[in-house]
Symmetry: none
Subunit: 200 residues, 4 copies
DNA sequence: GATGAATGAGCGTTCATTCAT
DNA sequence: AATGAATGAACGCTCATTCAT
């Protein structure tokens, strides 16, 4: 650990973030001790406090990592072309990335319900995601792919919810393959409908 | 607090359950102390242990309350008639019931990822719900309302995920009205599709 | 449990004593809870306090049972006849009686070191035992069986200590047969000596 | 309290051991709280857990101190020369050493009857002591001091039991002088016998 | 910059004892 | 006489945080 160049601090922080992300992911916020994190890094407990004011602060910074990954994958998977294929690619990529875990998402959700600062952050990220999805849907409307009268905001919410809900199901033991199929079929239903011609 | 009649013990348990449900809902599992629960009831900590072996046991019993409510509402809202209307009724009733909170659901989810017993319980409840929804969809297929070739299992997963995801969005500040609309519009999309005729 | 005749209270007490003797013997003083004792009797915790002021009081009364057994066996085993045989009989009978356990003796010893009342009681019982043994030895002196110049008080202490020490060894896993042999051989040594003629 | 030098941790441990030895000796295992020990050292409860995993672990380490003292004294007191004198020296030295107390021995005995790990430890120490004593007796046999046909194992048990029993008597108030005399006279009896020539 | 010993507040849990019934 | 729900004080143990080194 050389200490000469100024990026040192930044790098040290990011190493701590990586280690604690794993810890929080495995043991939850309350279940993770500062000692856990320190041990993963082979560092003393006190050292963590040189870079983060408190456990809460550390967690907060971690919360910011999730959306970054999401956004990146969203932008690489949704391009021109078949909507269903894009959606499938997105879901697969989200499952394949190894940094973030659904555990963490729900850990943050749980925590944010008691922590206003966290809540605001989570809300902002949620809205940003929503807008991205919505903009994409709007574009498809303009292109004539999707129906003119669709409520894109609400459909965006539905898509995000569907995704989040499937992540939750993974947590309780649903297999990844099963979740993928559910995602694909549901998105397909949202595109083509499920009613017979005869239905009103 | 008379202690003569035999239902006393049962009632005492249920009073503790109500109080701790609130506590867990507000502060989460780790954030809730047995003292919190006791104080809400104006009772000593020790008294709780007359009715529940441990904090974990108490939480486990609470976890069983959620699915009961869900099932009841599911059965009263999905009857013959318009699918969309049934879905809307279901969502409204879930929001109106005052016993359960989404917080609690995600608290349980978080906790279950580290507690195998809990996980098994949650998984069983999830599967039960899934089967109920699926059976309903199958029935609609038989009746000719839904298309013949639908993958009802996966659509059921999708519907449950959609619902769960919207509950999550409520937690981070989405308004109930907004969530309702998202639910309605997404379910509608799943029924009628969103593509224009021209799309493939 | 009829409550008419006056011996009722006495019998109830003795039933409690029997049950708690077992409990204390198995789990020690601190390890035994009033609930343990109550459950063994199929009785409520409160009932115990009708007959004994406190856990300590209950224990104290138990402490009085041990010496009674000891004295009885001492008097039946030491009669005229061979000293060594008498000693052997005594040891065997002590091992065969099933009421008292060595555990209890040392539990009492431990407890008495912090409880002056208990200590005084234990001391009195010890002295009584000592005097009995001593009187027996004195008689043997008078009869010409034992040497004239023996310090009977100190030999009595030695004998009692030998016995107590062997009880202790039973507690840590020494077999009963082994302990019996040790007792017999040591008493024999105390009678006949162990030195060769040549020794001074 | 400098914390620089490496022996610091070792010394801290031994300071805790000393303090808790006293505490356990005075109040017994259950009667001693971690707070007691901490207060004796003017230290916080938590500090103890930096050096010992649990109260039980702390006690276990203390249990290992007793035999060390015993063995040391045994080896310094039993040399060539008069057996009776050696025995006397041994007993005096055991009484004079100030580290260990008989209380502690019996506290351990009590505890070990419910704690298998402890029991095994105590048994091993007992056997080691026994073997040492036995080896000494065997040597005396070989030298022609003691009779050829003596059962040294059983006599060793008898001697250890005698010692243990006298330690017990000290606990209930027997004076040290009295105990010494009892020890000396009993050992003497074991050497020279107590029967008159005329006895069979 | 880094350590790790120390703190102190707090947690889950137990249990002898009481007392309304 | 008997119950058993309730108490309250205490215990073993943990951990985020601090600070002398």
């Amino acid at each position: 650990m050389p200490r000469v160049y100024p990026e040192y601090k930044t790098e040290a922080k990011s190493r701590i973030l990586r280690a604690s992300l794993q810890a929080f992911s495995e043991k939850g916020y309350d279940g993770t001790t500062m000692n856990d994190v320190a041990k993963r890094l082979g560092v003393s407990k006190g050292a963590l406090y040189l870079y983060f004011k408190s456990k809460g602060e550390l967690f907060k910074e971690i919360c910011e990592l999730g959306p970054q990954i999401l956004v990146k994958i969203m932008f690489t998977s949704f391009k021109d072309g078949d909507l269903l294929e894009n959606a499938e690619t997105f879901f697969n990529m989200m499952l394949e990335q190894s940094v973030w875990t659904p555990n963490l998402s729900f850990e943050i959700l749980s925590e944010s319900s008691r922590n206003p600062t966290l809540k605001k952050m989570v809300k902002q990220n949620y809205d940003k995601t929503l807008n991205t999805v919505r903009a994409f849907l709007e574009e498809q409307k303009r292109k004539g792919v999707l129906k003119r009268d669709l409520e894109t905001h609400q459909l965006a919410m539905g898509l995000v919810a569907l995704f989040d809900g499937l992540m939750a199901s993974l947590l309780i033991g649903t297999g990844e393959a099963e979740a993928k199929q559910a995602w694909n079929q549901t998105v397909k239903a949202m595109l083509h409908g499920t009613l017979t011609r005869a239905s009103p």
